[in-house]
Structure formats: structure tokens, C-alpha cells
Amino acid sequence: MDIAMAARRKGKRRKKEQAEYFFDYSLLFIVLFLLGFGLIMVYSASYYEAFSDYGDTTYYLTRQLAANILGLVAMIVVANIPYHFWERFAVLGYAVSVVLILLVMTPLGIEAGGARRWIGLPGIPFNLQPAEVAKLCMILFLSSLVCKMGKGVRTMKGFLIMVAVPMPIVVLVKEVTDNLSSAIIILGIALLMVFVASPDYKKFIIMGVIGVAAVAAILVIIINADTVEGFRSARILAWLDPESDALDKGFQPLQALYAIGSGGIWGKGLGRSIQKLNFLPEAQNDMIFSIICEELGLFGAIAIMLMFILLLWRMMIIANNALDLFGALLVVGVMGHIAIQVILNIAVVTSTVPNTGISLPFISYGGSSVMFLLIEIGLVLSVARRIQLKT
């Protein structure tokens, strides 16, 4: 009996050890590094403007730090809850997203920078961007949907359902909060998850071809149009030739190019950016990558890009080793979210694609964004903890 007891105890201990062992410290450290680096860059990019606007050089830094701490707490909590716990909230999350987006139109909605994208409650220091909630809920909802459909995902009907389900949210985000970039991100996350969930490639290749053709057609129409109507067409023209419209729509992309170009290979040194001195709008926010380029040069830029590639790689490993499809899809969703934002942000900053407001995950200033990203990382860590060691 003693022996049996000991063996049982031993077995328990091993199980416990395994669980701790599988906490993905590499992923955690990458995220912590990005957060720390982000704080440094937010401070560097914002102190000048913060001082001239608020008389406090740490105005943006302290807010971002608070959001980071809150986010980390949320991440730890989420990481310690088995992820299947959330499956039951999938439909509710979808509904909550819709409600929150619609709330933007009520008096609770808050306008900033010419767009009404936030909701706030009196007495709460942080404003909430419903689009961020919608991204998280979309990942949860689609993962759960795919699991429920089982073999249904292989059918055409299943595919159509998967594609159709995210559309209401995408349209609401685009139309109600007038936030094209978030709509694109949500659509992108959804398509990536559907791509991973459904077993074939043909549909996606066709979709890709149609998408590229549509984009090309829109571009041709805009370039050949005699008069340009509207906000986005002008942005696209400004993208094609930023210097032709240097004072208006081309201003921000051109200022970003000045920052990037003047950084050169080694950069001007941390804190020595000139473009952040009110020249470059949103220097601590969507355009922070150009300040990184200006201050730290090509080497700083490649270091950050490598960190993101490492982050994606860790998530790919977790997704591939996840205990079940639900976990794998959750991780794929988060991975897609981060990948799309990183790629689009750098593409915008380098004028590779037309200017649209997309923040750089973990680094750009923005409370909602970083908190929800950390919750997503919490989910990923939670999936990682369930991975069984195979011998």
C-alpha cells in the first residue's frame, strides 16, 4: 500500500510538473519584451508633444503603462482559466459585440480625432473601442462554430456559413464606427480561420484571385477618374504619389517617409527623432514604427520585425500542438490578428499600401488595443498549458 501510495503521489507530482513545464515562457518573454520596448518608444515619440499639449512629458507613458499592467493582470487570469470555459460565451460574445458597436451611436459614444469609435462610462478612466472587443469575440465565435459544425466544414454550405457569419460585424464596424481598418482586420482574421478550418485550397485561391482583381480594378478606376470624390480615394491617390499632395492627404505618409529615410542604417539614436517634434501626426500611435526607424535605423526595424516573426512562430507551434481544434483555432485567430496588424501597419508606414489607421501591436499607444491583445495572449497561453508532452 505504501508503495502504491508513493507511486500515485509520484504520478501526481509528474502531472503537476508537466503542467508548469508547458507554460510557454518564450512567448511570454517575447510579449514582455515588446511591451517594454513599446513603452520606451511611446515615451520617446510622445514626450515632446505631451509636454507641449499637457505640460507633462509622461502623459502618454503613464496611461500606456497603466493599460499594460491591467492587460497583464487580465492575461494572467485568462491564462489560468481552461480555455474551454469560454466556449459557452461564444454566442453571447457575438451579441455583445453587436450591442457595443451600436452603443457608439448612443450618447455613450465618444468622438476623438474626427471619428466616433469609442464608448465610455462616466467615472471610468478608460474608453472602450468596441472594434477591439469584436475582434476577440470573432475569434472565439468562429472557433466554437467550426468545432460545432464538425465535418460540416468540408461542405460548400459549411464554407458559406463560415464566411457569412462574420460579415454583419464587419459591416457594422465599417459603417457604424466608420473604421475601415478594423473591419479589414476582422474580415482578415475570419478568412484566415476559415482557411485553416476548411481542408481545401481551391476556393481560397479563387477568392485570392478575385480579391486581387477587384483591388486592381478599383485602383484603375480611381486613377483614371477625372475628379476624386471622397476621403479614401484621395488617400489612395496620395499613396500613389505622396509628394503631389504633400500638404493634405499625402502629408502623413510623406512625413513618415521622411522619418524612415532620415534614419538610415544606424538611426539617429534613441530619443533623437526630429520628426516626432510635431511634424509627424500620430507619432506615438499608428506611425510609431517610422519613429523606431528614424531613431534606431534599419537595425532597430529588423530587430522588431524579427521579434514579431518569433512571436508568430511560437503561436504556430502552439496551434500545431494544441490539444484540440478549438484551441488550435483560437491560437490561429490570435496569430492572424497580430500578423495582419503588424504587416498592415508596416505597409502603411512605408507607403506600401494606402494610408489607413492601424496600430502596431504591443508598441503603439492605445489602451483598448493593448489590453485586448494581452487577453488574446492569455488565451494562447491557456491553450499552450494543455499541450501534452509526448515522449
Partner: protein
């Protein structure tokens, strides 16, 4: 639970997603390399251009000095007051102080202070004391920059020759504009890094491109001669109630001008002041016309009928061509008939029988008409052109007037006759003096000039100016004969008032009636040179519209005599008693 097959399919797809992301990031990295390596210089230059504010530093303008190093045009430190819109903290206080200190209207200052520009100039050429006072207020956003302003120590001296400079220290008239490229120097700049609102970023410091001072211009002017000539001209002008008196003193051997006086002169330190008694309420166009008249240098900008002084040219042409010799005898009945015209001599009774020398001493018109007619239109025109009278002298001052002369094909005997004694055409005083110099100096047509050399701030000579000399316009013999004849004019003839005790002086008087004839307006003039046998200095005095006695011999010759009495010893020219 996942089936094994499905798991493999999902893994493959996740791998595809990951590598697609990596591929896109690599593409973006390539784009970054392009931007930050290939395009880095372009964007860095653009960014620097955007970040740097430029402030000019004026270069000290070169001085203008006389032949002995007396400074005729100098620089004085003055201040430029500007405001930087974004740095102003208390606009009302700034407006109040600037209005009070600079004596400007509030509206003027207010529009400039409230204008949204990076930097707005309020006033330049402010006294250093005023600038220092404004600086002591220590007002945020007000910049006091020191720079240089032209200063003329002798005020009116040589005003129409030296010229003056404008608000940006650029030459406006005279030598100041002619030698602009030597005098102006190269402006420097202060480049300061600013933020987007124009506020200077202190820790970035500033880049300075130092200005290079302009070169000093050494001129042939002699301050003492210029000053004395000015004094004589003023006296004569007052005594004869004349409209103006011009005096040019030149070295006939090389064309260096010692003095050029045009009374009334104007104050170079206040060139925009209107002459006394002018109505202050005139329009700006009229005001500018008056000022242009005030600034006009009559010696080179205006032409006149030279009258009898031009007989020097007729005589030289006649002698050179051999149509007349000094001993040829003539008879003057008081007039001469040319074609159908009867042209009178100034002595109505006639000079009677006289040699060519005596005719020159008498300034006898019929004799010179005869000489002109003997030459004929073709020959006369040949000498007129040969002496360089149809071209400009090439003096180094702007705005030299050209000769107004009959066309050769329009010239008949009557025209030839009038030209022979200096009427019916117009030349500038400097043209007459230059041509006379060329005839008496042995036949070398010299270029009258002021500029001698340009010297940089370290005293190194940057450039010595050289001027064209055309040899052989008359022979040495003709030149010698002319010197003798003109000496006789002063010694015993019409130019006797130009005689200087102890010196051999040659010369010729003229009294020309200005157009239209019969207006009673005359120009009295005298050209004199010394020593007559080896001319070292030549001078012309022109009295414009003298009242009372108007003859050149009475009005102009004494001016040159007084001038020579003083400057010949000063120039070290020995009289015949001293040799």
C-alpha cells in the same frame, strides 16, 4: 477530438499562414532597405530642409576708399527687428514696446505680430542703441539681429559718384552699384533646427555658415581734391546763382579721375530726403522723379552742346589732316556764309586778319568753320569717330549717356559748320574731357575711371582693374602743337582767367547757349590742363545757367584757376619757377 488526417491538414494550413506572413514581412523588410539605404539621402535631405529654419547673416559690405586710403563709404552696425509668431507669449506687450521704440503705427506692428509666419521682419536699419534697448526688454519671440548699414562719413561728398545702398545693402546708384559684385560679399546663414511649430530645439544647436565680407574698393578719387572742388563749385554756384556746377578733375595720362563734383549734391546718409522746399504731399511717382533728378550725375548722365571747347577737336583734326597749320592766316569779317546761311562770329565786328593760333586764342567761329569745311564731311566724320566721340567713354559708372550726333548722310555744309565750333550736337562732359585728354596726351585715347583695385578684408589685392587705351588717335606732333596753342589761349587769349601764376596751363573756354536758342540760358565752361608741356592734370568746370555774366572765360575759367592754384602744389607738380 481531431482525427489524425485532419490534424495534418490543419497543421499544413497553419504552416502556410505562418510562411505567408513571414514572406510579407520579408517583402516589407526589402521595402525598408530600399527606403533607408537607397533613398536615405534623399529623404534625410528633405527632412533637414523641413526641420531647419534659416536666418541670414548679412556680410559686411566692402568699403570704398580714396586713392590715399581715406574711407568714403563705411559700415555701421545697425539692428534688424523681427518677430517669431510662435514664440510670442505676450503679443500686446510686444506690440506696445515695438510701437514705442521703433516709432511705428500700431496697425503696422499689429498686422506683422499677428501674421502667422515663421518669422516676420518689423524694421531694419534700426540704430544699435535702439536695438540694444529692445533686447533689454527680453520679450519672448522678438529677435534683434545685428547687421551692417552703409555709412558715408562725408555726407554729401561725391554723392553722385559714390552712390548709396538700399535696405538690403545693395547698391542703388553710382560706384556702389557698378562694383556691387566686389563690394557685396557673401551672406552667411544660421540654420537652427525647429519643431513643426517653428520653436527652436536647443539641444540640436545651430549650424552657422559664416558670411564673407565684401572687398574694399580703392578708387582714384582724392578726398582733398574732391572736397576742395566741391567747395569751389558751391561758391561758384552761389555767386552766379547757377542751377548747378560740375567739376571733373582727371589725370589725362591714364584716365584716373581725382574728383567729380556735381553741385548740388545730396546727402548719401539720407538719400531719400527731398530737396528743401519741395511739397511733401506729392505722389510717389512724382517723388521718385524728383529723386531721380537729385541723384543724376550730370557729368555722365546728361549731354550738352559743348560749344567752343569743342574747337580743340576741330583744330586737332585739321592739323592732323594737314588742312591747316598754326601759321596759316585767316580773315574774319564777323561772319561767314556757308551755302545760303550767314553764320556770325561772337565778335560782331570781326577779328580781322589772324593766324590759326590767334584764331584759337580768339575762339573765332568763322576760322574754325573754314577749317571744318576744308576737312569736309567725310574727313570730319572720320576724325569724330576716330577720336572715339561716337562711342561711350566706358567710364565705370552706370548710365553713361551716348553722343547725339547728325547722321553722316544727313550732314551738309551747314551742319558741318556748326559742329566745327561745337554746336548742333551733344556729348557728355566726361566725353569732352576724355577726348581733350587724348589729344593733349600724345594721342592716346584713355578710359576715364574711378576703380583702381579691389582688396579683401585681409588686405590682399583681389583684382587690379585695367582699362583700355587706344593709341595713335592723333600724332605726337599734332598733340604737341595742340598743347602749345591751348597754352597760348590761357596765356594771352580768351582763357586768360585760367592762368595760374608760376605754372604753364593750357585750356579752352566755351559759352554755349542752351536749346531753344534765345532762351537766355547759357552754359559756361572751361577745360584746363597743367603743366601745358606735360599734362598731369586736366579739369573741366561747367556752370549751368549762370545769372549775370555768362561767358566761360569769366565764369568757368576762374574756378579752374583756383582749383589749380591749390591742387598743383598738392599733387607735387612743379611750376616753371621751381624747376
Amino acid at each position: 477530438m481531431l482525427t489524425n488526417n485532419n490534424q495534418i491538414a490543419h497543421r499544413k494550413k497553419i504552416l502556410v499562414v505562418f510562411f505567408a506572413c513571414v514572406a510579407l514581412l520579408v517583402f516589407l523588410f526589402a521595402r525598408l532597405v530600399y527606403l533607408m539605404v537607397w533613398r536615405a539621402e534623399y529623404y534625410a535631405a528633405k527632412a533637414t530642409e523641413l526641420h531647419e529654419r534659416e536666418r541670414g547673416i548679412k556680410a559686411a559690405r566692402g568699403r570704398i576708399l580714396d586713392r590715399n586710403g581715406v574711407v568714403l563709404a563705411d559700415n555701421r552696425t545697425v539692428c534688424t527687428i523681427s518677430v517669431i509668431h510662435n514664440q510670442i507669449q505676450d503679443p500686446e506687450e510686444v506690440i506696445r514696446v515695438l510701437c514705442q521704440e521703433l516709432e511705428l503705427s500700431e496697425d503696422y506692428v499689429r498686422t506683422r505680430v499677428e501674421k502667422y509666419t515663421s518669422m516676420e521682419r518689423i524694421k531694419s536699419n534700426v540704430d544699435k542703441e535702439t536695438g540694444d534697448r529692445i533686447r533689454e526688454y527680453d520679450l519672448a519671440g522678438v529677435k534683434v539681429d545685428e547687421d551692417y548699414k552703409r555709412y558715408y562719413p562725408y555726407g554729401e561728398l561725391g554723392s553722385k559718384v559714390l552712390g548709396f545702398t538700399g535696405g538690403d545693402n545693395q547698391g542703388i546708384i553710382g560706384l556702389e552699384v557698378r562694383y556691387e559684385k566686389y563690394l557685396q560679399g557673401t551672406a552667411g546663414t544660421i540654420l537652427t533646427v525647429t519643431d513643426a511649430k517653428g520653436i527652436e530645439v536647443d539641444e540640436e544647436g545651430e549650424r552657422r555658415i559664416e558670411p564673407v565680407a565684401g572687398n574694399d574698393l580703392y578708387t582714384s578719387i582724392d578726398y582733398n581734391i574732391q572736397a576742395y572742388a566741391t567747395q569751389l563749385a558751391l561758391q561758384a554756384c552761389a555767386a552766379k546763382e547757377a542751377e548747378g556746377v560740375s567739376i571733373i578733375v582727371m589725370n589725362p595720362q591714364n584716365g584716373e579721375i581725382y574728383a567729380m563734383v556735381n553741385v548740388p549734391e545730396f546727402d548719401l546718409n539720407n538719400p531719400y530726403d527731398l530737396p528743401e522746399g519741395t511739397d511733401e504731399n506729392i505722389g510717389s511717382e512724382e517723388r521718385q522723379n524728383i529723386l531721380n533728378g537729385v541723384w543724376r550725375n550730370g557729368c555722365i548722365n546728361d549731354t550738352y552742346e559743348p560749344g567752343s571747347t569743342f574747337k580743340i577737336i576741330t583744330a586737332a583734326a585739321g592739323l592732323e589732316e594737314g588742312v591747316v597749320t598754326p601759321q596759316d592766316s585767316f580773315s574774319c569779317p564777323g561772319f561767314i556764309v556757308v551755302d545760303d546761311r550767314r553764320i556770325r562770329c561772337h565778335k560782331v565786328a570781326g577779328h580781322g586778319g589772324e593766324t590759326f593760333v590767334q584764331a584759337t586764342m580768339n575762339s573765332c567761329n568763322p576760322v574754325f568753320i573754314t577749317v571744318g569745311l576744308r576737312l569736309g564731311v567725310d574727313n570730319y566724320y572720320k576724325y569724330f569717330e576716330g577720336f572715339g566721340l561716337k562711342e561711350k567713354t566706358g567710364i565705370d559708372l552706370p548710365g553713361e549717356a551716348g553722343t547725339i550726333m547728325h547722321k553722316k548722310e544727313d550732314m551738309g555744309n551747314v551742319e558741318l559748320a556748326t559742329v566745327s565750333f561745337g554746336q548742333s550736337f551733344q556729348i557728355t562732359p566726361i566725353q569732352l574731357l576724355t577726348t581733350a585728354s587724348s589729344i593733349i596726351n600724345g594721342g592716346r585715347r584713355i578710359t576715364p575711371h574711378f576703380g583702381v583695385k579691389a582688396v579683401d578684408e585681409n588686405g590682399e589685392v583681389v583684382e587690379e582693374f585695367s582699362y583700355e587705351v587706344k593709341e595713335g588717335i592723333v600724332s605726337q606732333e599734332t598733340s604737341a602743337t595742340m598743347r602749345e596753342m591751348l597754352e597760348m589761349v590761357v596765356a594771352e587769349g580768351g582763357g586768360i582767367n585760367g592762368k595760374v601764376e608760376g605754372f604753364r596751363v593750357g585750356g579752352k573756354t566755351a559759352t554755349s547757349q542752351t536749346l531753344p536758342r534765345g532762351s537766355g540760358r547759357y552754359i559756361a565752361s572751361f577745360v584746363g590742363f597743367a603743366p601745358a608741356d606735360d599734362p598731369q592734370v586736366i579739369a573741366i568746370a561747367i556752370v549751368n545757367n549762370p545769372q549775370g555774366v555768362y561767358y566761360g572765360g569769366q565764369v568757368a575759367a576762374p574756378i579752374v584757376r583756383q582749383l589749380f592754384e591749390n591742387i598743383l602744389p598738392y599733387l607735387g607738380i612743379m611750376g616753371y619757377n621751381q624747376e
